[in-house]
């Protein structure tokens, strides 16, 4: 199934392809941030609130720290939180969805109850509260986001497994003595893969937004410059409204978040369009 990926990507629309390129670009920036920036991201290297110019391409903030460096470094937060959460939540959601759908019985009851509870709780208040009480580190953010996010893919996968389990060929394989692992690996995974993939991408999108929101509130990891955190500082700067500083200090991080979120959402939709058609 994974081998089919290049073929699927070729079928993307222009917007989809652009989005994919953009995401790859951001990942690239995140990984190679130190090499792409002349100036450090956490030390003042210029006059404060310099507009974009030759030295500092995107200008500086109120402390004189280069904005481009901050943004490059902030990309790391977005990518790490985004992909980290997506990986854990997707894995957990798939695993629990399969276990719940296959074994049913007690395991199913427990997992379904958990799913119901988690999906009826609004995510922002909990994130805020846990951030406040447990400290805003990237680890904590990923942890709490994962715990809140695995429920949605689990629910979808569970219902798919329940209907797949009705097929006679599952009964036949069980008749040959096949166990949970064989059936999951050989029969279920190929069918779930598209759903998991789409969930994965949607989770990345959600995670990035959640991380930006938390940072914006001041609950982001203070040791690194997430884009939301830049916005937070900028908006709290007295007089931000009466000056032109927002033209770079606010615009660039804002654009970055919006573009990244839109890009992942677009890629997610493209996959959905193509893979859904295949399933039908």
């Amino acid at each position: 199934m994974v081998i089919k990926m290049p073929k699927i990507v070729k079928q993307f629309s222009i917007a989809g392809k652009f989005s994919l390129v953009f995401i790859v670009l951001v990942c690239f920036i995140a990984i190679f941030a130190p090499m792409l920036t002349k100036y450090p991201w956490n030390q003042p290297t210029g006059a404060s609130l310099e507009p974009p110019g030759k030295a500092h391409i995107l200008g500086t903030d109120d402390l004189g720290i280069d904005l481009w460096a901050q943004i490059c470094h902030g990309a790391r937060n977005s990518i790490v939180v985004g992909i980290g959460t997506a990986v854990i939540a997707c894995f957990l959601g798939t695993l629990l969805g399969v276990v719940s759908g296959y074994y049913q019985g007690v395991a199913d009851l427990v997992i379904t109850a958990l799913i119901d509870i988690l999906t009826s709780i609004p995510s922002l208040p909990i994130m805020v509260v846990t951030g406040a009480f447990f400290g805003p580190s990237i680890k904590n953010i990923i942890l709490i986001l994962s715990i809140l996010s695995w429920a949605v893919p689990a629910r979808i996968i569970r219902s798919k497994i329940i209907s797949a389990k009705q097929e006679t060929y599952i009964k036949v394989a069980e008749g040959y003595g096949a166990g949970f692992f064989y059936i999951t690996y050989r029969h279920f995974l190929p069918q779930i893969f598209p759903i998991s993939l789409i969930s994965f991408i949607k989770l990345i999108s959600r995670a990035i937004v959640s991380e930006a929101s938390l940072s914006f509130l001041g609950l982001g990891d203070p040791t690194s410059k997430s884009w939301g955190l830049i916005l937070n500082y900028a908006l709290n700067f007295p007089g931000i409204y009466f000056t032109d500083y927002w033209k770079w200090w606010i615009i660039y991080p804002l654009l970055c978040i919006i573009l990244l979120v839109l890009a992942t959402a677009t890629v997610g939709r493209e996959f959905e369009k193509i893979l859904d058609a295949k399933i039908d």
Binding site: Y169, V172, G175, G177, Y182, P190
Partner: protein
């Protein structure tokens, strides 16, 4: 009157020893008639000739033949001549040269009379005419030459000749082969009448069941010189205990008016000296059968069987099966106190309309479903869930919907190989070879292109064949086919059915064929089970049930169909 004990006849020639007859024993009293049935080469004719004492000198004989307590084997040829024809006579197999072409009928019959009785020549003529009259021939026949007579007339002459000296034992060898139906009927009636009247011991040697049924009380089944089964004729026909006997019965058109004819598959390997002679063609052979010669043993009061496993084994025995479903508060009883037993190589048709519970029962019998109560034994062991579907030589089931029973994303190779993969049997190459063999058996292509096709490109009929191939890979002893062709078009249905029956015949597994279609059941079933609303309302040998259904539901069902 006639007692044969451990008679063995061996021919040696070309450095090879052929055991034409091996350790045959039987006892016959006055007035009894016994049939000996077997294929050509079974030694039945040799046996008859041995009793007459006219085997070739190269034949080595061991054992005793006692007539009226006198061991004929200890007599010299001259002494034997006294017994020949006067006491023990034989009606030979009809052939062109069985009678001397240059002598008239009269002369040929007369010479027996003159030899063995005190009757003078001219009295003998009238005796001949009398004899001819008794067999229903006109007196003019006496002066005919053999080639002037029809086959039926020649046979009657042979009978008349055999009866010339009023023998106490008559051996009849294939009395009706090469005769037309009318003549056949006449001969059988004649022999029956004569035997009844004169009360001689009659040994009927034939390969034809209709002859043996009509003429004998007892019979024994011979194969390659061995008696495999012995007992009352009527009982054996209704309930053969040896696989070979059953095979012979299934090959007889007269005994199978509904079913298609299927022969016994030819031998796949040579039989061993030490083992059972039927081993290569037996469908329930085990390793012991290769090394141990079975002895003719009592299986019941009047029946003996020579089989290492005691005759046709019972594969599956289910008693008291109960299963109830609860649906929206209602209880639906799918199976109510069902019993079923299946023997090796048997084909059972489980008939019922939809909702009668037949699929539920099949699922329970194979272990896919747990019954609420009841006991199921497969080869003597209680069935626990998937125990017998997950091993070689166990139970396999082919399901009704070929679209749902195979994961259509799998390739043909993956789908058929799946049981071997799960059970981790054999290595990769062996698995592929077995898949190819199975595909060939179900008459699908087995080249690599086909193996790599994904199942969603196959039609329903092809998928069903793939499903059958998959179930064959574990070499099942029992195959349960659940309405496997009801979702296919009629032509595919017929092909699948033939395929399945052919496989059953060749590979020897027992089969439960579930269907609602009575006509199909008629074509293939040995035994019928009719289910209605969860209960088995009638069961029995197929022919019996179709001819004479006992339960009301069965009667309605069968009359509707005919």
């Amino acid at each position: 009157m006639l007692k044969v004990e451990i008679l063995s006849v061996t021919y040696s020639g070309d450095g090879q020893e052929t055991h034409a007859v091996s350790e045959v024993s039987f006892i016959l009293e006055q007035g009894q008639s016994m049939g000996i049935i077997g294929e050509s080469g079974s030694g039945k004719t040799t046996l008859g000739l041995a009793i007459m004492g006219i085997l070739r000198p190269t034949a080595k004989i061991t054992g005793t033949i006692e007539y009226n307590k006198i061991n004929l084997r200890e007599l010299s040829q001259r002494q034997l001549d006294m017994y020949r024809w006067k006491h023990i006579a034989m009606v030979f197999q009809n052939g062109l040269d069985i009678l001397n072409p240059l002598m008239t009928v009269n002369e040929q019959i007369k010479e027996c009379i003159i030899r063995h009785t005190k009757i003078k020549s001219h009295d003998a003529d009238s005796r001949v005419k009398e004899l001819l009259g008794q067999v229903g021939l006109g007196t003019s026949v006496a002066d005919s030459l053999p080639h002037q007579l029809s086959g039926g007339m020649r046979q009657k002459v042979l009978i008349a000749m055999a009866l010339a000296c009023d023998p106490k034992v008559l051996i009849v060898d294939e009395p009706t082969s090469s005769l037309d139906a009318v003549s056949k009927e006449e001969i059988i009636e004649l022999l029956a009448y004569l035997q009844h009247q004169k009360r001689f011991v009659m040994i009927v040697i034939s390969h034809d069941f209709s002859v043996i049924t009509r003429l004998t009380d007892k019979m024994c089944v011979m194969y390659r010189g061995h008696i495999l089964e012995e007992g009352l004729t009527r009982d054996i026909l209704e309930n053969p205990l040896h696989p070979y006997t059953r095979g012979l019965i299934n090959s007889s058109p007269s005994l199978n008016p509904y079913q298609d004819l299927w022969g016994i598959p030819r031998a796949s390997e040579a039989a061993t000296e030490e083992g059972c002679s039927f081993y290569p063609r037996c469908n329930q052979k085990e390793d012991i059968c290769k090394s141990q010669k079975p002895k003719l043993k009592y299986a019941s009061l009047e029946r003996k069987v020579a089989c290492n496993q005691g005759g046709i084994i019972t594969l599956l025995k289910a008693r008291g099966i109960n299963k109830t479903y609860s649906f929206k508060g209602n209880k639906i009883c799918a199976c109510k106190d069902c019993h079923m037993s299946i023997r090796a190589g048997e084909i059972i048709a489980l008939i019922g309309q939809s909702g009668s519970g037949k699929t539920t029962l099949a699922s329970i019998l194979s272990g896919y479903l747990e019954p609420e109560s009841g006991n199921i034994e497969f080869l003597g062991q209680t069935i626990k869930q998937h125990e017998f579907t997950s091993q070689l030589r166990g139970i396999q089931m082919v399901f009704q919907d070929p679209f749902s029973s195979i994961n259509e994303q799998f390739t043909v190779l993956q789908a058929v190989k799946e049981p071997l993969d799960i059970l981790k049997l054999y290595n990769t190459d062996e698995r592929t070879a077995m898949v190819k063999q199975a595909l060939a058996d179900v008459e699908l292509a087995c080249d690599n292109t086909f193996l790599n096709r994904r199942c969603f490109t196959l039609s329903g009929g092809q998928r069903q064949r793939v499903a059958i191939a998959r179930s064959l890979v574990l070499k099942p002893r029992l195959l349960i086919a659940d309405e496997i062709s009801s979702m296919l078009d009629p032509s595919t249905q017929a092909n699948i059915l033939r395929l399945l029956k052919g496989l059953q015949n060749a590979l020897g597994f027992a089969m439960i064929y579930i269907t609602h279609d009575l006509d199909i059941a008629r074509k293939i079933a040995d035994k019928l089970y009719i289910m209605h609303k969860g209960e088995i309302v009638e069961t029995g040998p197929a022919r019996k049930v179709f001819d004479n259904p006992k339960s009301e539901y069965a009667r309605k069902l069968i009359s509707k169909n005919s």
